[in-house]
Each structure stands twice: as C-alpha cells, then as structure tokens.
Amino acid sequence: MRRISVQAEDFDPGAEIAALQACAPGAGALASFVGVVRSDAAHPIMSMTLEHYPAMTVAAVERIAEAAGQRFALLGCTVVHRFGRLLPGERIVFVGTAASHRRAALEATEFLIDWLKTRAPFWKQEHLADGSSRWVAALAQDEADAERWSARPSPSERLV
C-alpha cells in the first residue's frame, strides 16, 4: 500500500498511522516522521511559504517512494507533503512506513525524508517579523544526508 498526497490542508498523524496499519496486515513495525515549521529564539520567523512544481511534485514523490520500496522490505508507506503558507508549529510533512520488523521501517522513514528534502520539488521561503522574506538555502548537509544512501548500503536494504 502506498499513499502519496500533496496538499494545502493539514493532516492528522494519528489517523495516517492508523490507515497505514489497516492496509498492512501482518506488519510488526510502524515508523513515522513529522516535519514542523520551526521558529526559535536563534531564528524567529513569522511564517513560511512552501512553493512547489505542481505538474512534477506527485510524480517525484512517487519515484522516491518507489526507491524506498526497492531498497527496504516495506509492507506500506505514506507520504503527505503540504504546500502554501504555514505558521510556526504547523506540520509540513508526514512520512510513515510499515514493515515486518523495526529496522526496515525506521531506516526507510529516514531514507524517505532525506530524499524528500533534496529530490521533491519544494522550495521554502521564510517571512520575518520586519516584513522581509528570504528563500531558504539548500544545506550541504541535506545533500550529504541524501547521498549517503547511495554510498552506504545499510543492513536492512535489499540486495537488488
């Protein structure tokens, strides 16, 4: 079971996990990640806009989920990614995986979010208290996090 949604509306992480479990009978492990709009003392923001490439986004996320399915022994996975204007504390992205055992579920979740960060066509713009806005620069660390999945096969990855 694979569920991909690119949407403006919020989502319910508990409901997503329950739906994932319902579609993956026999799963012994469910793992999930929720990304949230961050605003803290070191870097306060008023809001964030997520722009995306509508004609490409769902297909790009499908390809990422497909890659996860090839690498890990998954029974199901869910990706929900929001776009539009979001306030601090609002949820941005949900990744959920179901597998027979925890290692595949946990590692596939990490893989999915690492690849979403660098391979799903979204761009974040932060809006600051002084009225200015800035596009978030891609982090070399994010690229390195995504690339390590190419370089280092992990124990639960299937040999293709």
């Binding site: 990304g35 997520l50 722009e51 995306h52 490439y53 004609a55 490409m56 297909a59 790009a60 990614h81 941005i92 992205v93 979010i113 979403l116 960060k117 660098t118 391979r119 799903a120 066509p121 979204f122 761009w123 974040k124 713009q125 596009w135 978030v136 620069a137 891609a138 994010d142 690229e143």
Partner: protein, 86 residues
C-alpha cells in the same frame, strides 16, 4: 522551429519576473546549457537569475536534467534553485 514552455520557481521566478512563458528558440539551441546561455542575453532579469549556475537546477518534462540534456519542440523546461523540501 522549436517552441518551449519554460517555468521558473522560487527566486529564479522573482528575478526573471514571471512564472512561465512560451519561447520560440533560434536555430542552434539543442541543450539546456545552450538555452540558458541564450536566455541570459535576452534581458537583465535572466542574467540575474542565471548568474550563479551552481545554484540553478532544471527539469525537462518534469524529470530532473543536467546542462547537457537535449531539448526539443513541445518540451516543458523548468528552472529552480536547489530543493528545500521536507
């Protein structure tokens, strides 16, 4: 005569001044790299958008593509900064 639909996202869109356009290409433009070089001569917004090539990514027909990627009539080309999703 090749006609392209070209899309721009994030700060590339802001610098170019619009989100999308249709362009008829002059003879001799067959790759993304050649398209960028030609666009830069069109007006200052394009020059500003493409002045740092290492910060520009592209897709042809919704698939990521490099500078050497071939482009042809009817393609949808998109230019954008490195992705900041998740």
């Amino acid at each position: 005569m090749a006609k392209l639909r070209i899309l721009y996202f994030a700060w590339l869109r802001e610098r170019v001044g619009h989100a999308e356009e249709e362009r008829v290409l002059p003879q001799g433009i067959g790759t993304l790299g050649e398209l960028i070089a030609w666009l830069r001569t069109q007006h200052s917004g394009y020059e500003a958008a493409f002045s740092e090539p290492r910060l520009v990514r592209a897709a042809v027909n919704q698939a990521f593509a490099g500078q050497d990627a071939a482009i042809s009539d009817g393609d949808e080309v998109a230019f954008f900064p490195p992705i900041t999703g998740g």
